[in-house]
């Protein structure tokens, strides 16, 4: 059948063949007994399943075949069970009984099939049911079965942690086994399951390991000259777990680890595997410093290895210890930086992470050079990580402000599209802080803007700077860099290009527009040009831009005298914690600063930012679980509305809740209808009542409120409270 499927030339043909076969198989399944063809059919079905076609109708057949007395059918049946059934299928429960019977079978291969299947797909209930059986098998004398039973026990304990104690005594006896095959799974069992009961056996483990390392050639277990590396690695891992927080255990292992580290042959992958595990163990347990140095040296040797795999794992391990053994890792910095240039993406990623971790105040300049070089040639998925890593490093270790700004500019020009949004406000804030470099910065940014306007963050920062420090740009002289003669027209041209380019996002355009506006106070001649630009955008499709343009127009027309004050240089922005957001564009910042700067002149623009702040809620009365709060809002020159909200936090309901209010004589009071008079328990609902007050004589406003209600027991309750001061007035 397989040949037929493979000879199908198109997908459609293949589907046809498979459908016919499946139909035939289904028909045959329905027949009661088929001789040897049953296993054959199931095998066919499994192949079809592997190709990705549905095969659920085979599940019951699996169950039936597992129960069959013939070995061949059992074999395929169990295979089908492992492939088609999993925990979530109901049919898996049906095989529990069959597995139980097979576990007690006289033939060990049948037992092994059952064990294997149970270990592969046993669900929690199945495990619980069959755990005693497994325990019995663990104690059996047949080593073949013991092996499988032990691994099955591991699976069971992984599924159902409580059963660990059940297997503990059997596991301990396993440790005494001499056979390699037994040992390996003993250790699997141990380190997965019950570490504490094994801790006394560290010396024994050390002995076994020594035997493995020193002993002669054992052809059965040998892999390229290392005797039984799988077992060695297992033992090392177990030692690692035992020694992790345990001083005495670690001491016992020191010699052994040193011996393994020095004696293992590292020309082949196998040897390296054992060495790697040794290194991990040394680094994890409380080892002595000499041993740690040895381990780091081994990792260093790995780094120089030609094999990429080895370099990769060396860097992964170094990453783990860079926090603790920083100096040791620093020694290998050169090699790590070289790995940045490797062609393999995984190696590059690891090298990048490690390099970023190794950056420190002393090597910042050289490292940054390398990192920037890397950024220009790195694969796109690593760009964002690299950029943010560079920013962090620059922030922490920048030797000078100018260097810092240079670095950030460099990053923006190479990878501007991949940096995060908050770099723009961060950079702006950095620039405002370094007042002596304004001139230099704005020149550099202007030049960058001329060359390339595709990087959004760069363009935004450049526009902002040109707007703020345009006068410095136009002055034409600058100490730090060669000046270029920039006329006002040039500057405006640049900004206009940004405004009109289709590559600019709306936020960028906002920046550019605001910058153009700011230039109107900084330059002398081309104010009309600015006015025309601004008025064009008064009818722009984008609402944000339109709003700004209209505002700026108004600034030109009606408030021209205030223009200079409004658009003057921004003060240094305080770097707050994350609560302070400058918003995505500097335009918002300008608006925020605006009212602060010209508070004395009263409302500036027609649109006053609406008072977003909610009037405060003042608690006025709190007794016996009943609380009353008050909110006042001024509605007119002499009038206000007071909203009283009552709630009940006791466990019983309150009914007939009424409020009465009294005010001084000249104040007029009008109480609106309350929302209700029933206060359910535990604050499930509240009662509100609006009170309109008119205070034409502007006397000192006081209010006396009487609260009366009935409790659930029926008793009446009354109280009075006086409010002397009203917030929000």
């Amino acid at each position: 059948m397989i040949r037929a499927i493979r000879s199908a030339r198109t997908q459609c043909e293949e589907r046809g063949v498979i459908q016919r076969e499946c139909a035939a198989i289904r028909a045959q399944f329905r027949q009661v007994d088929n001789g040897g063809a049953r296993s054959h059919n199931l095998a066919k079905l499994l192949y079809v399943h592997m190709l990705g076609y549905p095969a659920h109708f085979g599940q019951m057949e699996c169950v039936r075949m597992i129960a069959s007395p013939r070995y061949s059918e059992k074999r395929v049946g169990y295979l089908g069970a492992m492939m088609l059934l999993d925990e979530k299928q109901d049919a898996s429960l049906l095989i529990t009984n069959s597995i139980k019977n097979d576990l007690a079978h006289s033939n060990q291969y049948v037992q092994s099939l059952a064990l294997c299947t149970l270990a592969c797909m046993g669900s929690a209930e199945m495990c619980r049911d069959l755990a005693p059986e497994i325990d019995r098998l663990l104690r059996a004398s047949n080593s073949y079965i013991k092996k499988k039973a032990a691994l099955c026990a591991v699976h069971i304990v992984r599924k159902v942690h409580d059963l660990g104690e059940l297997f503990a005594p059997a596991a301990r006896s396993l440790l005494a086994e001499k056979n390699h095959g037994q040992l390996i799974l003993t250790f699997s069992v141990c380190y997965n399951v019950f570490v504490p009961c094994v801790s006394q056996t560290v010396p024994d483990l050390v002995q076994i390991m020594k035997g493995l390392v020193i002993s002669g050639y054992s052809p059965e277990h040998d892999v390229a000259g290392i005797s039984d590396p799988f077992l060695q690695v297992r033992i090392l891992r177990l030692l690692r777990i035992l020694g992790r927080h345990n001083e005495t255990a670690s001491d016992a292992m020191n010699d052994l680890l040193a011996q393994v580290a020095t004696n293992t042959d590292s020309t082949k992958t196998v040897g390296n595997a054992v060495l790697y595990e040794t290194v991990l163990t040394v680094l994890d347990i409380k080892s002595e410093s000499g041993l740690r140095v040895l381990a780091v040296n081994i990792l260093g040797r790995f780094l120089l290895n030609n094999d990429r795999n080895i370099r990769y794992i060396a860097m992964t391990s170094l990453q783990r210890i860079v926090g603790t053994d920083h100096n040791a890792v620093q020694r290998h910095r050169g090699t790590i930086v070289d790995c940045l240039k490797d062609q393999d993406a995984s190696v590059k990623r690891r090298a990048l992470e490690l390099s970023l971790a190794l950056v420190s105040a002393s090597n910042i300049r050289t490292m940054m050079k390398e990192l920037l070089l890397f950024l220009s040639s790195c694969p796109p998925e690593l760009r964002a990580q690299a950029a943010s890593g560079i920013f962090h490093a620059a922030e922490r270790y920048a030797p000078s402000q100018r260097w810092h700004i240079d670095t950030i500019l460099h990053v923006l020009t190479t990878a501007g599209g991949d940096v995060r949004d908050e770099t723009v406000p961060n950079l702006i804030q950095l620039i405002t802080n370094t007042s002596e470099l304004h001139c230099y910065t704005v020149h550099k940014l202007y030049r960058a803007l001329l060359t390339d306007i595709s990087q959004p963050s760069l363009v935004q920062v450049a526009c902002w700077c040109i707007g703020e420090y345009g006068d410095l740009l136009l002055k034409g002289e600058c100490q730090e860099t060669e000046p270029s003669q920039v006329t006002e027209d040039d500057a405006l041209d640049a900004l206009e290009t940004v405004l009109q380019s289709h590559m600019s996002s709306p936020a960028t355009r906002g920046f550019a527009l605001t910058a153009t506006m700011k230039l109107s106070t900084r330059i002398t001649e081309n104010v009309d040009r600015i006015r025309s630009i601004v008025s064009i955008y008064g009818s722009c499709m984008d609402v944000e831009l339109q709003q700004r343009a209209v505002e700026y127009n108004a600034l030109f027309r009606k408030y021209d005298h205030m223009r200079a004050a409004v658009l003057e240089r921004m003060p240094v922005i305080e770097k707050n914690s994350s609560g302070h957001t400058n918003g995505e564009t500097a335009g918002d910042a300008v608006k925020e600063i605006q009212p602060a700067a010209v508070k004395q002149t009263g409302p500036l623009l027609p649109q006053q930012p609406a008072n977003q702040v909610h009037p405060p809620t003042v608690p006025v009365y709190e007794k016996d679980g009943v609380s009353l709060t008050l909110i006042c809002e001024k509605t007119s020159d002499s009038g206000m509305t007071v909203t009283l909200t009552a709630s009940n936090s006791t466990d019983s309901d309150i009914s007939v809740f009424t409020l009465q209010a009294a005010v001084p004589k000249s104040v007029q009071l009008h109480m609106k209808a309350p929302s209700g008079d029933f206060l359910p328990a535990r604050g499930a609902a509240k009662v509100t009542q609006m009170v309109a007050l008119n205070n034409p004589n502007k006397v000192n406003l006081k209010m006396r409120i009487r609260i009366s209600y009935n409790t659930s027991q029926g008793s009446a309750y009354q109280d009075t409270v006086q409010i002397d001061s009203f917030p929000g007035l």
């Binding site: 291969y109 080593s143 690695v233």
Partner: protein, 156 residues
């Protein structure tokens, strides 16, 4: 602990799949798709280790087949490479100069060998001879499929 083992050809057709943890069918299909696309996209001389979700993926190419093994994060990757290699050696010994066609047409035998080597995500037997002997005995048992069972005590 190993999570799953996949074998697929250079064209991305699956030849063997072994899952050591319970996963739904849809998840399995998705994982297979992800693995094949990730591994087949790798350059020829690149590192054999990948990072995917919270697992490490170790893959190795033998002739036209890619062996892809997923292990937990704490496992030793170099050892996983050895595991793959050992499995290939076992197959080679059994089929005699194994090639992809052998695995295609005798996939259930490949599964049986795997079951003798790994159980529940852990290595079961480190000796090649023992595994081979077990497989041979099981095969004999299968052929001799009449009602006679005999105790086979391989080693005490």
């Amino acid at each position: 602990m190993m999570r799953f083992l996949l074998l697929f050809s250079r064209q991305g057709k699956l030849r063997l799949q072994k899952w050591f943890t319970p996963i739904s069918e849809r998840e399995k299909k998705k994982i297979i798709r992800d693995m094949t696309s990730m591994v087949l996209a790798r350059q020829p001389r690149s590192c054999n280790f990948l990072h995917w979700k919270d697992l490490k993926i170790i893959y190795k190419r033998y002739a036209s087949l890619y062996f892809c093994l997923a292990v937990d994060n704490q496992e030793n990757e170099l050892l996983a490479l050895e595991v793959i290699h050992r499995y290939v050696e076992l197959l080679d010994k059994y089929f005699g100069n194994v090639c992809e066609l052998d695995i295609i047409f005798n996939f259930e035998k490949a599964y049986f060998i795997l079951d003798e080597f790994l159980i529940g995500g852990e290595i079961q037997e480190t000796s090649k001879q023992v595994v081979n002997r077990c497989i041979e005995s099981s095969d004999m048992l299968q052929e001799d499929d009449s009602s006679e069972w005999y105790e086979v005590e391989l080693f005490g």
